[in-house]
């Protein structure tokens, strides 16, 4: 059967419920936000290139680092992972779509609108962008100390984005548990899909916590309650607990998908199955569970007392064990292989090399007394960027080079890919390694200026040069994307010799993915081809579902930013309007015929 080419019109993209198109929408939107977050980082680095610099004002600087963190976490890295969840997971498990295609579209639109809502704050007069840090510590976020709309944009924007994440989380759990092809037992699930499952469980359990924390903040700001305000018996430390109970699992929400990606990339290019599949999967699950018991290590300077410090120190150190186990299993996967040095493999290996450094500085923070000299300094900035840039971003780029041919039908250029890798690898180490020393030499984070007497001017300049080198590497990647559109090598079904089901179908796949749902008999179906039955010529093929477009997820999603405008503008009728749009969208969606 020939792959029916999907019609591409504006309307077809606005109403799409096809997981592949939604995956591409996620990718391009998240990548655009990644560029915005990157520009914010460049401005930050330009300001800090020398002592007493005046590239931006103090107020703007505070907005830049707040929005850089918020954007990268919620609008770039999470949705870039979601792009791969969407595009790849149904293909890997042998499904024709996700479990709830329209809910999937709803997630995307809510994410886009939430991101636009947050960033709209840059465009208003006096650009009241959020300015209390991505962690928004109470009581700085109270009406008394932050009277403007800045914090309102932040908390309402995050609430909108939380809806998108929760809906997607439930969707992928149901998809992975229920839509696996016949024979794909849980322990035959590709590791990327496994990590998607663990991440989705973390999302549905962690996001309610930040939602509650933000609701309390909203009450404090709009209705005069005192949940975080000591003046009437509230406690700002409550915010820190709630935020980090969400915030630490969030770190694993950001890193586990990247770990899943490199667990696919390394075996493919070493031509060996993943070493210790079971151990890698279980340590991923274990990290997911243990991630709930370590939050107070973000709060060692709060003064929780020696008992709490000791307990959270011990749990934090424990979590290093399954993480280390993963690294050794990846090394063992490469050991004895025939390693093909593709761009994807470069990034996957870069992940191991850099994430290891982030893990080791993490162990240093796990010791509260040592952490008291490191927390809130550039040492921690170095740490999180080795984890989230060296780890997550390198993992995501490994995924882009690996799956781009599947998603577009053409391979990204290998020469440009390697140039991209080396520029980024060198740039990243120049930008972030000196920060370890900058921090130990006494420079706190989140300061818009510093004096020459600190003695960290040269190190900061090196860091800034590194940041701009990263920017150059991103330009190389964009050139690569652009050239690939027309000049990229045609991928065919399987340009890499991959082992998993997505490589058994055309690139890009037809709207219904699989002509016949495969029956799976092993963990690496394509490397044991005999187990994949060829389709007999005269077989009666079942008619695949044609994906049905719908406007209603988009309409329902539009209701949320309108609702959020109500408290921002103090207008009641806007709230009713938003609720009406939301309810109409959901109502019409519920009664829409499921198939044409």
């Amino acid at each position: 059967m020939s792959a029916a080419k999907a019609v591409s019109t504006w309307k077809s993209w606005l109403t799409t419920t096809d997981h592949k198109r939604i995956g591409l929408l996620y990718f391009w939107t998240a990548f655009a936000f990644f560029l915005i977050g990157g520009l914010e980082a460049l401005l930050i680095r330009a300001q800090l290139a020398r002592p007493g610099n005046t590239v931006v004002s103090a107020e703007t600087f505070n907005q830049l680092f707040t929005m850089h963190g918020t954007t990268m976490v919620f609008l770039a890295l999470m949705p870039l992972s979601a792009a791969f969840f969407n595009y790849i997971v149904p293909l890997q498990i042998g499904a024709r779509d996700v479990a709830f295609p329209r809910l999937n579209a709803f997630s995307y639109w809510v994410f886009l609108l939430g991101g636009l809502f947050l960033n709209a704050s840059w465009l208003l007069p006096n650009h009241p962008a959020p300015d209390a840090g991505w962690f928004g510590y109470a009581n700085l976020t109270s009406r008394e100390f932050s009277p403007g709309p800045n914090i309102d944009f932040w908390l309402l924007g995050l609430q909108i984005l939380g809806v998108a994440s929760l809906a997607a989380g439930f969707n992928f759990i149901v998809t992975i548990l229920n839509l696996r092809a016949p024979g794909m037992k849980m322990m035959r699930l590709p590791v990327f899909s496994w990590m998607t499952l663990v991440t989705s469980f973390l999302i549905i359990t962690a996001f309610p916590v930040i939602t509650v924390a933000l609701v309390l903040l909203m009450f404090d700001r709009f209705f005069g309650t005192h949940f975080y305000l000591p003046s009437a018996g509230g406690d700002p430390v409550l915010w820190q607990h709630l935020f980090w109970i969400f915030g630490h699992p969030e770190v694993y929400i950001l890193i586990l998908p990247a770990m899943g990606i490199i667990s696919e990339v390394l075996p493919t290019f070493a031509r060996k199955p993943l070493f210790g599949y079971t151990v890698v999967v279980y340590s991923g699950v274990l990290i997911g569970f243990m991630g709930w018991g370590v939050w107070s290590h973000h709060m060692f300077s709060v003064g929780l007392g020696p008992i709490a410090d000791s307990v959270f120190s011990a749990t934090t150190m424990l979590i290093a064990v399954p993480t280390g186990v993963k690294i050794f299993n990846w090394l063992a996967t490469l050991w004895g292989g025939q390693i093909r040095a593709t761009s994807a493999l470069h990034f996957a290996v870069g992940f191991i090399a850099l994430f290891t450094i982030g893990g080791l500085s993490g162990v240093m923070h796990a010791s509260p007394p040592a952490d008291l000299q490191q927390t809130d300094t550039y040492f921690v900035v170095a740490h999180i960027h080795y984890v989230l840039f060296g780890g997550t971003v390198f993992g995501l780029f490994a995924g882009m080079y690996y799956w781009w041919p599947k998603m577009t039908g053409r391979l990204l250029g290998e020469a440009l890919g390697k140039l991209h890798f080396w520029l980024m690898f060198v740039g990243m180490n120049l930008a972030f390694f000196p920060m370890h020393f900058i921090g130990l030499l006494g420079m706190p984070r989140r300061i818009y200026t510093y004096g020459p007497e600190l003695g960290v001017a040269k190190l900061n300049l090196v860091s800034t040069v590194g940041a701009f080198l990263i920017a150059v590497s991103i330009l190389v990647f964009l050139v690569n994307l652009w050239r690939t559109r027309t000049r990229g090598k045609v991928a065919g079904n399987d340009p890499w010799g991959g082992a998993t089901l997505e490589w058994t179908i055309p690139s890009p796949p037809p709207p219904h993915n699989f002509d016949v749902i495969p029956t799976v008999a092993s963990r690496l179906p394509r490397w044991s081809m005999t187990q994949l039955k060829a389709i007999p010529e005269d077989a009666e093929l079942e008619k695949p579902h044609a994906p049905v477009g719908s406007w209603w997820p988009l309409v329902a999603a539009l209701g949320l930013p309108v609702l959020a405008l109500a408290p921002l503008t103090h207008t009641l009728w806007v709230a009713f309007l938003g609720a009406a749009i939301l309810i109409t969208g959901i109502y019409r969606w519920a009664f829409e015929p499921f198939e044409v």
Partner: protein, 332 residues
């Protein structure tokens, strides 16, 4: 390597990178108190474990990449799926290393957070956006931004805040501790050498977080006693008709004294106590040196020096400005 040499080597690393020899007045690698030394020793121990793991993992990775590069015509590698003994080994090895880190960690947690010695000098630290207030309750001293402590005597800082969360950090004296509304936290240390230690607020606290700096003067016992005596004295009286007298009048006229206390003149509590402001080496929370020119600059346009500063920009007349500066500088 003997500890002293290892120590020097670690200290040298950033110097080599920076291509300059410092000094690094805010370095956490140069402890000057018992508390800071405890943290520093612990950190150095963990650092070498981290170096060990780093070298093992990264050299293994490099070796594998070089040794197992694809070769033309090579057969498909043997599919190994796992190895139970190896898995157990590399679970136990990191766990063992962590025990070596955890035990001294726990010990240090409890020793550094032990109750202060009974003879410890008590100092209340109160954070404000964006300056530090210090009160010596047993000595009856109130001052700002520059903390004086005697060398060799235990000191306990009892820290809290008047507005948002801040964090007191003077790296050479020890780890940071947050100032949290409604809480009183403690930092206990005994300074070990005489000198000036620099530090600053380490928890983001709003527009001028970067400008909330501090100094700790570790004084010899006699110097400290002299300083205490000077601070306990009332504000210097002004001679009738002197420029200082004009300055004091101007402070009243412009309403400065509504916020600032000067013993015998005013009792404001919003801004720093100015009774002995002339004795400090810096102003505006360590942002400017305490000179005539800089003081005048500060008074003329506080938010210009320190974004978001609560001290308003007032239309101070030139002759008033000169008088105010003369008066404040005389308040030794």
């Amino acid at each position: 390597m003997p500890p002293s040499r290892r120590r020097r080597w670690l200290t040298l690393l950033p110097l080599v990178l920076a291509g300059c020899g410092g000094p690094f007045p805010q370095s956490a690698l140069h402890p000057e108190s018992d508390y800071a030394r405890a943290l520093d020793g612990l950190f150095r121990g963990i650092f070498w474990w981290a170096v060990l793991v780093f070298v093992v993992v990264e050299s293994l990775l490099l070796f594998i990449l070089l040794r197992y590069r694809q070769r033309a015509g090579a057969a498909t590698p043997k599919p190994t799926h796992g190895h139970t003994v190896l898995e157990i080994a590399w679970t136990i090895a990191p766990a063992l290393i962590l025990v070596f880190i955890a035990v001294p960690t726990m010990r240090t947690i409890f020793t550094t957070q032990a109750p202060p010695a009974p003879n410890a000098l008590r100092i209340a630290v109160i954070g404000h956006q964006w300056w530090w207030e210090y009160r010596y309750p047993d000595l009856g001293i109130v001052t700002a931004n520059e903390l004086h402590v005697p060398v060799g005597r235990p000191v306990v800082l009892e820290i809290t805040t008047a507005d948002v969360i801040h964090s007191f950090w003077a790296p050479a004296l020890g780890g940071k501790r947050d100032l949290i509304p409604g809480h009183v936290n403690r930092i206990t240390f005994t300074a070990e050498s005489i000198g000036t230690i620099s530090g600053q607020c380490a928890e983001f606290c709003g527009a001028s977080h970067a400008n909330m700096r501090l100094r700790v003067m570790v004084d010899a016992d006699s110097t400290f006693r002299a300083w205490v005596a000077a601070q306990q004295a009332p504000a210097r009286a002004v001679a009738r008709g002197s420029p200082a007298q004009a300055g004091q009048d101007a402070l009243r006229r412009y309403g400065c004294i509504a916020c600032h206390a000067i013993t015998g003149v005013s009792a404001g509590v919003i801004g720093p106590n100015l009774t002995h402001v002339g004795s400090r080496t810096t102003i505006a929370a360590g942002v400017l040196p305490n000179t005539d020119v800089d003081l005048a600059r500060w008074i003329t346009d506080p938010p210009g020096v320190k974004p978001g500063a609560k001290m308003p920009k007032l239309p101070v007349q030139p002759q008033d400005l000169t008088a105010i500066v003369a008066y404040l500088r005389s308040l030794k």
